[in-house]
Subunit: 295 residues, 2 copies
């Protein structure tokens, strides 16, 4: 087994290449839109969701030539959500992945359409590329991503987030928001990657629980980093949540307890993977990475 | 055969019921988002795209219990595009279907998320409901809608439209824009409706040509109505194109020649349907309706 950082770099490079090949070339009309799509998606990001898809695929013996498209589809949904989230009507943020956000680099109308077109492209990819043994399974994968992205998934989580500005959420309410806002797509990453291989029912339950723990841990750590790290380290505006008076795990629990919670969720994630044995080792390493990361 | 206006009303009522049942109930959290989704989609609109899907389904012997979901999916994509198109960053319009637009009635952030969530819901519907004899055909239908909605379809057409403000497009350039902006989704309506039934290859070619003619005719008539009708009749702001100095069929050809062009496209649409015989009669009636409408 290659060491984790080599594996991660290999996956990230592979993902970048697949995305670069799948996005319309910048020269193709409408070129400004295609420029913006490539600008938003390529050359940045930790690719946490694709890494989860690749690791889950390894746990179910999936061929990477399939998983790469499931991973890319999820990353396109994630990228579109960042573009819209950064717009003035939402978070109004000028910096993302160390670069000007799409509406700053291009304009608001282009940012709106770029997000829209990336969402369509995700579903085009998931319905076009060969991902599963049979078409019925693949159709179920499209359904899974659509639900994860929609009003009872990611978009719904963002709506709850909007409503929570200047209101006092308690811990269960905060968790409810994050299960939707970031958790739904992280769950989809794990399950779509796994479904590219042979996924037994009991393993699906285990992976689902793993994904839930990881999704929350990811968010808790995000809140800690937002409170503690610098804008330069994060590549996005730090301290934003406190400035907007948004409830976070840090505002509710304090940094120390938030860090402990992330560690507990990581332990739960490991426990969930127990039945899968060594083929889930990459998922274990990713759980540790998510909690220990500093950016 | 029931008369056309009865058929149309039956289809529109049926569509309204299917959409009302398919959209998340307003009380379900996040309730503001779900309210906005229902506000945007229900209780208005000519439902031209669903009508085309139903008529195409009749031409291929499709069961209406299938076509209704293809029709609804296309209408959800159309509804999302109107919400985003009306936002201040794009057309900045306050009136749609005789009601305040979503960002006026709710707010910009909600409008953004509502459009996003409606797009996801369209793909959820198309991948969930039983629409075709086999899953592979249905997967191809998802692909068709995703391509029609994306950067080389509707979203791309809107990007070209944005770039065309204050520029002098010639007739081929204007046609290129509309083939994308409105034509792609109208084509998808016809083909998705048809694919719910038994569609022979040569009929697919005929329907594709019909859809292209109807899509352009629809746009030419839209331009004429925008120039001539009142805001009250249209239920949306009239005279907008001229005010924004956008190229239209009327600005390029004048009203008289534009009306003639719409009639020629209608004749072409009828000619395309020749091989399909009487089972395409609803499509013929719709072609006439699109050209003769006054709203």
């Amino acid at each position: 087994m290659t060491d984790f950082s080599t594996w991660m770099l290999t996956c990230q490079t592979h993902m970048e290449n697949v995305l670069a090949d799948s996005l319309p070339a910048a020269g193709i009309a409408p070129s400004r839109l295609h420029d913006a799509m490539r600008y938003a998606v390529l050359g940045g990001g930790k690719r946490v969701r694709p890494l989860l898809a690749f690791a889950a695929g390894e746990a179910t013996g999936a061929d990477r030539s399939r998983v790469q498209y499931a991973a890319a589809a999820v990353e396109l949904i994630h990228a579109y959500s960042l573009i819209h989230d950064d717009m003035p009507a939402m978070d109004d943020d000028a910096l993302r992945r160390g670069k000007p956000t799409v509406h700053v680099e291009f304009d608001e109308a282009t940012a709106l359409l770029t997000g829209d077109a990336l969402q369509s492209l995700a579903f085009e990819m998931l319905s076009t590329e060969p991902l599963a043994d049979d078409a019925a399974s693949q159709l179920a994968m499209v359904q899974l991503l659509a639900q994860a992205a929609g009003s009872r998934g990611m978009a719904g989580g963002q709506a709850i987030d909007l409503d929570s500005v200047n209101t006092a959420l308690d811990l269960p309410e905060l968790e409810f928001m994050h299960i939707h806002k970031t958790g739904a797509l992280i769950r989809a990453s794990v399950l779509l990657g796994a479904r590219c291989g042979t996924l037994a029912d009991q393993d699906a339950v285990a992976l689902d629980h793993y994904a839930k723990c990881i999704g929350l841990a990811f968010q808790v750590v995000d809140d800690v980093l937002d409170a503690e790290a610098s804008t330069a380290t994060l590549g996005k505006t730090a301290g934003k949540d406190a400035a907007q008076n948004k409830p976070t795990y840090v505002s509710l629990l304090g940094v120390t307890r938030a860090r402990e919670l992330a560690q507990e969720l990581c332990t739960d994630a490991h426990a969930a993977l127990e039945p899968l044995g060594p083929r889930a080792d990459r998922l274990r390493q990713l759980a540790d990475f998510v909690v220990e990361r500093s950016f």
